[in-house]
Amino acid sequence: MGKIVIILSILSLFVCANTETKIDKTIDETCLSCHRQQQIPNGLIYRRYLMQYSTDIRMEEAIFKYLKNPSKETSIMPPQFFLKFPIKDTLELDELKLHNSIKKYLKRFDIKEHLILGK
């Protein structure tokens, strides 16, 4: 019985890790590869969303809204930004994957995680 539990636990961990890896792969392939190629400043975008929306949920909604309908109006970036970086195409990802990818993106660039108390 104990062995079965251990095996199931290892399997579930494996499945989860696999899912995480898949999401990481999705975000890398569908989002960040382009960002890297075009040298789009991810940290700057994150900070801009953070400064505007404060919470992860609100940021996620705003990013989702933009990705579903990318335009200068729905973007948080200033008009000058688009002189250098073109408006991206609409993503073909399904909504769930898109939400998960945004969450992953927000987590990856979360600067609050780096806050520490000075001595």
Partner: protein, 384 residues
């Protein structure tokens, strides 16, 4: 110091000090509240200032690319940042629930908004422990001030009081001197008159002028009693009492005889119910003064051909007349010196004052029952 003067001075001081204390307490409370508010405001300014510093540092951290991001903090001031949903982001507080708990009386809190939301922070809460040292110092200073003011006003009140009662003291002193002089001057002629009446009665030379002589005797005895009362009042404080076991029953009957002339002159009907051999430990002069004053009042204020009931038992001595009575509003003050409920008759209004003083000396109890136009009963209860 005279007792009435002392009483007036004490009353004045109590009213004066109570009103001054009330006024000072009110003023001190207003000052204390204002000063305390000011002291707390000074401390509150430090956390407001710190909040502004933190806000500017949050802006720097938000733009910084060098990790870790070191959150600014002050050794005496705690702070925390919260997002738009009032969810804790980071801070020096141990408790994340502090945002909704500003009721702690030992701390000062300051809540400010961060705009734009650097690091996602919308609310910034700063707080510090209240430094009670200046407040305690303020309380001590006010207490010392109140104490010093109290002493100064007590002394001032005492001198003011003495100043205000001075005219009353002078009047009383003048009146006492007058009574003293009058009694001294009355003593010799009264004694002479009474001695001579006794001599005439003894040697039987009064048959043709019997009625006139009786009137002289009554008038002289009245004068003599007034003299005794005034002397008693004058020497009250120095009066030496000689307590002996007295047969009050015999004494009452003896004094009744003394007043026979006055009773007959007014044609009063006397009802006497005196139990025999009622013994009391008293000074004889006090007992005479007590009985004489009650009998004298009952005779003096009785109507012509009225009735006097004299009752003596183991529990009380009572004299009841059928005079004009005393109004209920005057019953409380009738015992005061120089108070006369009815001014139609002569007298100084000192009789019941003397009775009251004697009663107080022996811890007896006095009861006055009176109905206007029906009469008055004065009862002395021996029980203590």
């Amino acid at each position: 110091m005279l007792s009435s003067e002392k009483r007036s001075l004490v009353r004045f001081l109590v009213i004066y000090l109570a009103s001054t204390l009330l006024l000072f307490s009110l003023a001190s409370w207003i000052f204390y509240s204002s000063a305390k508010h000011h002291l707390l405001d000074q401390q509150r300014e430090t956390i407001k200032y710190e909040a502004e510093l933190i806000k500017s540092k949050l802006r720097v951290l938000h733009q910084s690319n060098s990790f870790p991001l070191i959150y600014p903090h002050h050794s005496m001031i705690d702070s925390a940042i919260y997002d738009l949903d009032k969810k804790y982001i980071f801070g020096t507080y141990r408790s994340e629930l502090l945002f909704n708990d500003f009721s702690d009386k030992a701390h000062l809190y300051h809540l400010t908004k961060v705009e734009p939301y650097y690091l996602g922070a919308v609310y910034l809460v700063t707080s510090r422990t209240i430094n009670f040292e200046p407040i305690t110092k303020l309380q001590k200073n006010i207490l010392i001030f109140m104490l010093a003011a109290g002493i100064i006003f007590l002394l001032l009140g005492y001198f003011l009081g003495r100043l205000f009662v001075a005219p009353m003291r002078d009047s009383i002193t003048r009146m006492n001197h007058f009574i003293q002089d009058t009694t001294h001057e009355l003593n010799t002629p009264i004694s002479t008159i009474l001695t001579n009446i006794e001599m005439i009665e003894t040697f039987g030379k009064h048959e043709e002028n019997k009625a006139e002589l009786k009137r002289i005797e009554i008038a002289s005895k009245t004068l003599s009693r007034i003299y005794d009362d005034l002397t008693y009042l004058n020497l009250n404080h120095q009066y030496h009492r000689q307590i002996v076991t007295l047969n009050i029953s015999e004494l009452v009957e003896e004094r009744m005889v003394y007043f026979t002339g006055m009773i007959e002159a007014k044609k009063l009907n006397i009802i006497v119910e005196v139990e025999e051999n009622i013994m009391l430990d008293m000074d004889k002069n006090d007992a005479i003064r007590l009985i004489d004053n009650l009998l004298s009042n009952a005779i003096k204020y009785n109507k012509h051909q009225g009735t006097i009931e004299v009752m003596l038992s183991k529990t009380y001595f009572s004299v009841k007349d059928t005079g004009m009575g005393i109004e209920s509003k005057d019953l409380d003050s009738i015992l005061h010196r120089f108070k006369r409920a009815n001014k139609s008759e002569g007298g100084f209004g000192i009789g019941l004052d003397i009775v009251n003083q004697v009663i107080q000396s022996y811890d007896y109890r006095l009861k006055i029952m009176s109905k206007v136009n029906e009469g008055t009963e004065v009862r002395i209860l021996w029980e203590k």
